[in-house]
Each structure stands twice: as C-alpha cells, then as structure tokens.
Subunit: 225 residues, 2 copies
C-alpha cells in the first residue's frame, strides 16, 4: 500500500481509488481486517473521507462492515463470478446486435484505432496494456449504443472475477485469437452484419472462462462459504 499526493480531486475519491486498486490487486487480501483509523493514518487524512470511501466500497461489495466490530475485505464469491459471466455474455451479445444495426461513425473509428493499438502492444508483450485495451474495446461498443450504465453494471459484477483471475500464476491468454475476434467483431459492426457479430462475440466470450473451483482449492481462505 503506497500513499499518494493529496493534490487533485477530493480526499474521499483519492482514498477510494487507492483502496479499490489495492483490493483488486489482492495486496489487501480477501478476509483481511482493515480499520478506518489504520487507513486514515497511512494515507494521512482524517477518518471522515476514509469512512466515506469505505461506504462506497461496501456498496460494491468489496468491503463488509460490522458495526462496532470491524471492517473486512470481502471474500471472493464464486456465485457472483458466474452471475457476472452470465450477465456479460447475454448483454454483450444483445448490444453487439444493436451495434450491427446502428453505430456512430465516431465510435467506429475508436474501435478501429483500438484494434490497431492492440496489435502494437501485442508485439511489445505489454499484457497490462492489452487488458486495458480489451476492456476499452468492449466499453466502446456499449458507449456507441448508449448503454454505458449496463457496461458499468457488468464491471461491478465482474470485480470478483478480476480478483479470481489474479490468483492464477499465469492466465495463458491467446492474445492472437482475442485480437482476431476483435477484428471480426469490428468488421461485423462496420458491415452491419448482426448475425455474424453476435456469433463472434459469443465465441469471443467463451475464451475468458476461469475454473474457479481449482483456484478455490488452492486458496480456500480467500473464498466465501
């Protein structure tokens, strides 16, 4: 846990961003106890902004507060992971069909640029950046269809999936295949072909399934129930 400067934005947001990142990093392990005072000292702010950041994290189910007892980083919930996967699959397919009917030219350009950037970053083996670009690709599709809150809901449901993914020593992702899919999805949107678009998106999403039970067996303390 590193402290940042209190330069820009509100302290509340700074604390929130810091904690959220550290929880999703697993630097703050699932199940670990964490107190308002502890964080306030470490980040050199008062309890109030820390408390308000905690509240936001509670709503996202990244923290669990038990009044007068303590606050804990939530454990990973495999049911939630499946729920997120389910929602993502269905909504991405539906939105892709929408995109293949109407899609703003501006957003289409973003998609194209994104795909090209991915090829570059793939050569540089920059996996972190590739993950970001992957997210942006899908987000752009939702934005183009004016469905960004649905994307946000998906992201929130997928937080446990992201933590789960980090527990694998290496996600042997086949970026070549992923990028091919992105290319094909982009072309389907460009060429207004809803049937192909949905098919490729369906294929694409099948790449990101993670076997949670194995990982749970390795790290039982990090999991719920």
């Amino acid at each position: 846990m590193k402290l940042n400067f209190n330069v820009k934005g509100s302290m509340r947001d700074h604390v929130y961003q810091t904690l959220r990142a550290n929880i999703l990093n697993l630097e703050l392990e699932p199940g670990r106890s964490i107190s308002e005072n502890e964080i306030a000292e470490q980040l050199e702010v008062s309890r109030t902004p820390v408390r308000e950041a905690f509240l936001k994290l509670v709503q996202e189910e990244l923290l669990e507060v038990y009044p007068q007892r303590g606050t804990f980083v939530s454990r990973i919930n495999l049911d939630l992971v499946e729920e997120g996967r389910f929602m993502r699959e269905h909504m991405e397919r539906a939105v892709t069909q929408l995109a293949c009917n109407h899609f703003p030219a501006e957003a289409l350009l973003s998609l194209e640029a994104n795909v090209k950037l991915q090829r570059l970053e793939a050569i540089a083996r920059n996996n972190i950046r590739l993950h970001e670009l992957d997210d942006e690709f899908h987000q752009t599709i939702f934005q183009g269809c004016k469905k960004e809150r649905i994307w946000n809901s998906i992201q929130q449901l997928n937080m446990d999936f992201n933590r789960l993914r980090l527990l694998r020593l290496q996600m042997n992702l086949d970026w070549d295949q992923i990028m091919d899919h992105h290319q094909l999805i982009f072309e389907a949107i460009r060429d207004k072909d809803p049937v192909q678009g949905e098919q490729w998106m369906k294929q694409h999403l099948r790449l990101v399934v993670v076997e949670g039970d194995e990982i749970k067996a390795e790290h039982p303390k990090f999991f719920k129930s």
Copy 2:
C-alpha cells in the same frame, strides 16, 4: 416529507430510506434543490448520517452533488429509461430460459403462491399491492436462478422508469393480461419448457412500455437535456 422515529437501524439508513421513498414518490421533485442542513433539521439528526445517505443516493443517480454549490434531485433521463428496458428485456428472457431448465421447488412454490395472491388482490382492486406482487414474481425467478444481483442492477436502472410511470395520471394496466402471463410463465417453468417460457416473458415485457416523450412534453422541467 414526513419524519419518522429514530428507533431501529442506523440513522444513516433511516435517512436514506426516507429520502429515497420521497424521491421515487416525486414528493421531492426532479430538479429541486436539497441541502444537507435542511434534511438534518427536518429529520432531527446531525449532518453526518444525512451526508452518508446523500452519498448513497448519488451513486444511484437520484441526487447530484456539485461541491460548494448545492445538491439537487436528479432529473429524469429518458436514455436511462430505455437502457433499463433493454437490459430488463434481455436478462429476463435469459433467466427465464435458465429457470425452465433448473428451478428449486421452494422458489416454484413461491411463484405459485404469488400468482394466486395476485388474483385475490386484483378482485380487491389493490393496485399498489399488485405492483409489489408483480415485482416479487420477477424477483423470485431471478432468486431461483441465483441471479439476484442482476435483478438488483435492473431495479437500479429502472428507477427513472418508475418515476416516469408516476407522472401518468393513470397507467391503464391490463392486470388480467398481466396475470395470465404470469400464470403461463409459471407453467413453463414448472413444465420445463424454455421455448414457451421465453416467448411468454417476451410478450409480457412488451406490456410495460411507456411513451416517455409525451410525458416529457407535459412536464419538461422534470427531464434531463
């Protein structure tokens, strides 16, 4: 705005529930300004729990805070209404198919009881209770498929739809048709018929479309953009 007792639960939650209900009632009109001090006085608590309730309402997009300027009840966003409708349609259809494959006996009993209760309340013309039962019917399907957070996401996206609905003097809902649909959906789940189930759910959801533009023309001040 009526004040309640500070008997049970936290003050924060009490304030939150009160404000949320009054916003969704339209007793607190979209666009109206509202301050922490004002609410703290009315509800006879300090600013802290009010402030924390505000934060939660901001996250649900029912309030908008402009630092050092003021806080306002958010205006109704028709894009959001459409986004909620879209998500609801697709997720309800997907979950209904799930339910038609596996569904816990316990949840199935709940559905059956719910359908029967609806018939009773329809005779009593108790529309408020009918709306509650309608929500519970759909919620039960999601619960039975272990997809309750998806239901919660839908509910959150549909808050603007609910406010919109209240602006109609009378929603001429055909409860007989609605209840018939519920019966048919229940039977499809019971008889494990995914095709019929999804079809009826699709039909069913087409009943609750609201023409937002007309209402916006009548009450322009309540709407965004």
